[in-house]
């Protein structure tokens, strides 16, 4: 892989990889992991056949890196994580606080899911990748993606406070 190509890929997909890692590890301190993902991409470039898009390929590498990282992670810095949303909305501080709390609860619920469910919720639910892109990253069939996503949502619903959805 030459320098020009990795620069192009980094410019195009570094933020996507960054965000995916944030969702997956539930922390915003993932810069090192982003770099690790791209270093792995350079090292494994010979195995990239071009069947999938570079973004899909990079996210599949990021997923493996994130899984390793999650195993090592002892504590999650939720407050720091929630700060990553702060510049997104233009609402009152109270609403903002409420919204952030909701997001935090949801993040915590996602973090408690088993890996398959977490994968599909992040890729399909948050990243809004297509079924085939998700299937490509997870090396699943399209139908497995659909079924697992459906099941994951059911479990996730139980994890989140009932009151939040009833209101």
């Amino acid at each position: 892989m030459n320098e020009e190509l990795i620069t192009d890929w980094f410019d195009a997909y570094a933020d996507d990889v960054y965000r995916f890692l944030v969702y997956y590890t539930s922390t915003s301190d993932v810069e090192d992991l982003v770099q690790e993902v791209f270093i792995k991409a350079i090292n494994r470039y010979d195995s990239f056949k071009g069947d999938s898009s570079p973004k899909t390929w990079l996210i599949s590498i990021a997923r493996n890196v994130a899984i390793d990282e999650t195993r090592k992670q002892k504590r999650k810095d939720w407050r720091k994580l929630i700060k990553t949303y702060e510049d997104k909305v233009d609402i009152s501080p109270e609403d903002k606080h409420l919204l952030n709390e909701k997001k935090l609860e949801l993040h915590k619920a996602i973090a408690k899911l088993k890996q398959d469910y977490r994968d599909v919720v992040i890729l399909r639910g948050i990243e809004e990748l297509s079924v085939s892109e998700t299937a490509n990253i997870l090396k699943w069939s399209d139908s497995k993606v659909r079924v697992t996503f459906h099941r994951a949502l059911k479990v996730l619903k139980l994890q989140v406070k009932e009151v939040h959805y009833e209101s």
Partner: protein, 287 residues
Amino acid sequence: MSHNEDELIKELKNLKSNAKLDPQKKESMKMVLQQHAKKKRAKSKTKHSFIWFSTAAAILICGGLIYTLINTDQITLPADDNQQIEEVGNAGGDPKEPNDMEGLGMEESDDNDEQATPGEEDSGNEEVSQQEFKVDKLGNETQTIIPEGTEEKINVVNFRIEPYGIDYQVAELLNKYVIEENTVKHHGEDDMVGSIRLSVEENETIEQLSKEFQEKYSEEFDNVSEVTEPTDGDNPYSGLTQRVSATPQGYYLYQIEENVLVIQYEYDAGASDGMGPRLQKFIESIR
């Protein structure tokens, strides 16, 4: 999909952040990645070069081995195919060649003689050839000799030594022949009559060779004549000869261009009346 699921999916979509890497960190990461890519490419290049050179070396070695094998086969095959074979009619013969010329390129071993068994003889294979040295039988003719003052018609056989193109005639009495190494030995039905051996020493001079022969003869025999120019036969070439008095045997060396034709002869003393004139005719026929 239930209402709750829709709500949940909406909530999940809201989790999508627009967070971005810090531009400064991004630049430094990019630099690191570019350097890593550069290193990786250099390593890969070295690896590929190594593989390429290893493959090329392996191919060269294999090629060399195959070439050597083929070459060896080409050298070996003719030798195997061309075992020394005697002419038909020599089945009962047990040629006992004088083995006193060892070291002069004219030796004949008993083993070689034993290889010329009747089973190996081929009536149609009179021209027995080695890789280069071979003798072609060209035909017969009649010549006149004068043994004991009386004219006598004898049949002679014309031969040519290739690749030197040296022609000579041998009395029919000695028209059996066998090629051993670079020597052709003519003999009769049995070796009691005598034998003449011819060989060609390349890029030699008769003076140099005569020294070697003289030394050898002096060691082997008591009554050896001086080395002289041949007087008992005339041909276009300058030559030197030496003979042993007790038993009729000796050699002739003829300078034919840059090579030397070496002739060694031996015959039974009792047959000297007939063999002397035949040997003379043979010497005169050399061209």
